[in-house]
Amino acid sequence: MTSQTHSNPKPYYIVRPPGRWGFPDFRELWQYRELIYFFTWRDLKVRYKQTLLGVLWAWLQPFITMVVFSIFFGRLAKMPSEGLPYPIFAYAGLLPWEFFSKSFNKAGRSLVMNRPMLTKVYFPRLVIPLSVVLSSLVDFLLAFVVLAGLMVWYGIPPTPRVWTLPLFLFLAAAVSLGGSLWAAALNVLYRDVGYVLPYLVQVLLFVTPVVYPTRLVPEPWRLIYSLNPMAGVVQGFRWALLGIGPGPDLGMAISVTVTLLVLLGGLVFFQGMERYFADRV
């Protein structure tokens, strides 16, 4: 068929070989917002249909962890807890931590697990790890209700700084998403990465002030310690809600910087690797 002169409107879309790296197309992501909602909804629905206790699990899981930590770290190991009862000290750190660890572990596998979709349908791949983080966020918000209940139980009023809590929540989401993007993309390309993730999370737990206060970390090491972005998140969480521990300081600033680097780098890396997903997953 020979080409004729067409008075064509601009093409709706042009399929091209991949170009230079850049950020994801956020406008397109907005167009797919309903899909993000559906994926998140699916995650939650399936999880609650499958587990024995359904929604209760979102409450029970951190609660039981807290109890176990309280017995072994709080009572037996006599971990200091900045003047507060250990259970609530631990729970306040556990909540943002679980948000991160759940997202990171699940999102890391999410692309590979959704292989059939990646090879048959188009949508911005960012939707998948994003929906994992969002569904973990829902769990977080549900479990937060228990935290509020605990504060009432222990008679601890929230500090006047509690309005900064959403900022730290946003920071937690940034770390979770950023880490998830790196993990998810790497796992598609190098399948052994998926095996390392749970181990990495375990180690990270100890390098994050969840079961112990930041004060435990000796001063000369404090700044290096702050390179762990979750350190800043957990620290800030406790400070905003319960008023304990160091407030925003140089260490926190380092954590925040690392967080932003991980997130921005993750967005660029993920977008750059997206061109290979359908072929390599």
Binding site: Y13, V15, P17, F38, R42, P116, V121, Y122, R280, V281
Partner: protein, 416 residues
């Protein structure tokens, strides 16, 4: 003439190991090791310099043998994978049916899966709401719409999956052999719906092995061969071209690893060659109506196989099945060959003369164990012609209808 699609120089290169189905994923360990060794990957061009233009409202078929690049082309146009070179301009919203039931989750109910699948395919929630009842009616699952899909029969599952996909209303529709699944009734329904879509004036690209469907639904067809456009023209001509060509000399089809990247050389069953031999034993693509002929399939078994059956499907070019026949259909043969030791084999079937009507026929081949595993299957492996020389009723110069044209025994009785 408004365009729907313009493709210019589209090419796609894969590393060996990345092609359909067999993904050799890499590990970090491997890649780091390779950093220090300069080895080049073997690559293959699944598509090479493909160009064509499709005006709005045209229904175009895309045919070709396994590995010709058909699915790759659709994947690129669907944005699932990126081209290596070239570009494609799409003048409209694209809806892709590369598979049915994408994203279906067994724990969710039919209703929930409709919304999920619809969203994945690109429908908005409002759109799904609007078409919900139609979709359920098309799938005939009204009574079960609120039970989890894991309880559905495979037929119900397919119907529901297709029902959602069938109600996509994109300007450009890309369909990849989804009609190959399901029973005959379901396939008829799918074809019907496809026909409706075509009549509504949408642009459709339809990949299929089903020559009958291609002939019915499309006006123009592209034949892909080894990643290139080998033919682009009216469908009947394209189908003829496709059947008469390929990796084959007249009357013979050989399997050769380099040519067909989808063939798994590690399988225990290795096809070697498929041939048609006339009554004189010559390999040919034309046999006489009045002579018996044979179809033989040469293959190798890398290890002993039990319960293997090797056979053919005979079809007319209109897509009607004439027969299915396996080498161990006969009970004695079945008992003798229940266990086949490893080795080089030839299974040959004799087809009587004065039996098939004149015309072109298609052979598909299959090697499988019933209900367990299919070792090899290829549609449209070889074609041949039956020439009317010496056909029954040759005393009248007429074409007879019917797939068969046998010489039957008649009696004529007369009252003395």
């Amino acid at each position: 003439m408004a365009l729907a699609i313009r493709v210019v120089g589209l090419s796609k290169q894969y590393r060996i190991g990345e092609t359909r189905g067999k993904v050799e994923y890499r590990t970090l360990r491997d890649s780091l090791g390779r950093l220090f060794r300069r080895s080049r990957h073997a690559t293959i061009w699944a598509l090479r310099d493909v160009s064509f233009e499709i005006p709005q409202g045209q229904v175009v078929g895309i045919i070709g043998h396994n590995g010709a690049g058909k699915s790759t082309l659709l994947k690129i146009l669907s944005r699932v994978t990126r081209p290596t070179e070239g570009y494609a301009e799409l003048y409209g919203r694209v809806g892709s049916l590369l598979e049915v039931g994408t994203g279906f989750h067994p724990e969710l109910t039919g209703r929930e899966n409709i919304y999920l699948n619809g969203a994945i395919l690109g429908m908005t929630r409002a759109e799904i709401d609007r078409k919900f009842d139609e979709i359920v009616a098309f799938a005939e699952v009204e009574k079960f719409i609120d039970t989890p899909v894991k309880f559905y029969s495979s037929g119900m599952y397919l119907r529901l999956a297709f029902a959602v996909a069938a109600h996509l209303e994109p300007e450009i529709l890309l369909v990849d052999e989804v009609l190959a699944v399901g029973d005959a009734a379901f396939q008829r329904k799918c074809l019907g719906k496809m026909g409706d879509v075509a009549r509504e004036g949408r642009t459709v690209l339809f990949v299929s092995h089903n020559m009958s469907a291609i002939l019915h639904l499309t006006q123009r067809t592209l034949v892909l061969q080894k990643g290139r456009v080998a033919f682009d023209g009216p469908t009947p001509d394209a189908v003829d071209f496709y059947l008469a060509s390929g990796f084959r000399r007249a009357g013979e089809r050989r399997w050769d690893q380099e040519e067909d990247p989808t063939w798994d050389p590690a399988g225990p069953f290795r096809p070697l060659a498929l041939r048609v031999r006339d009554a004189q034993g010559r390999v040919t693509d034309t046999v006489r109506a009045d002579e018996a002929f044979a179809v033989e399939w040469e293959y190798a078994l890398e290890k002993p196989l039990r319960g293997l059956r090797v056979g053919i499907y005979l079809l007319t070019t209109r897509g009607e099945y004439v027969l299915t026949s396996f080498d161990v259909d006969d009970l004695d043969m079945y008992r003798t060959w229940e266990e086949r030791p490893a080795g080089h084999y030839l299974s040959r079937v004799h087809i009587p003369g004065h039996w098939l009507n004149e015309g072109r026929y298609i052979l598909s081949v299959n090697a499988s164990t019933f209900g367990v595993r299919t070792y090899f299957h290829e549609e449209n492996a070889l074609s041949f012609r039956v020439d009317p020389i010496g056909a029954v009723g040759a005393q009248w110069p007429e074409r007879r209808v019917g797939v068969l044209r046998p010489l039957l025994r008649w009696e004529i009785l007369r009252n003395a």
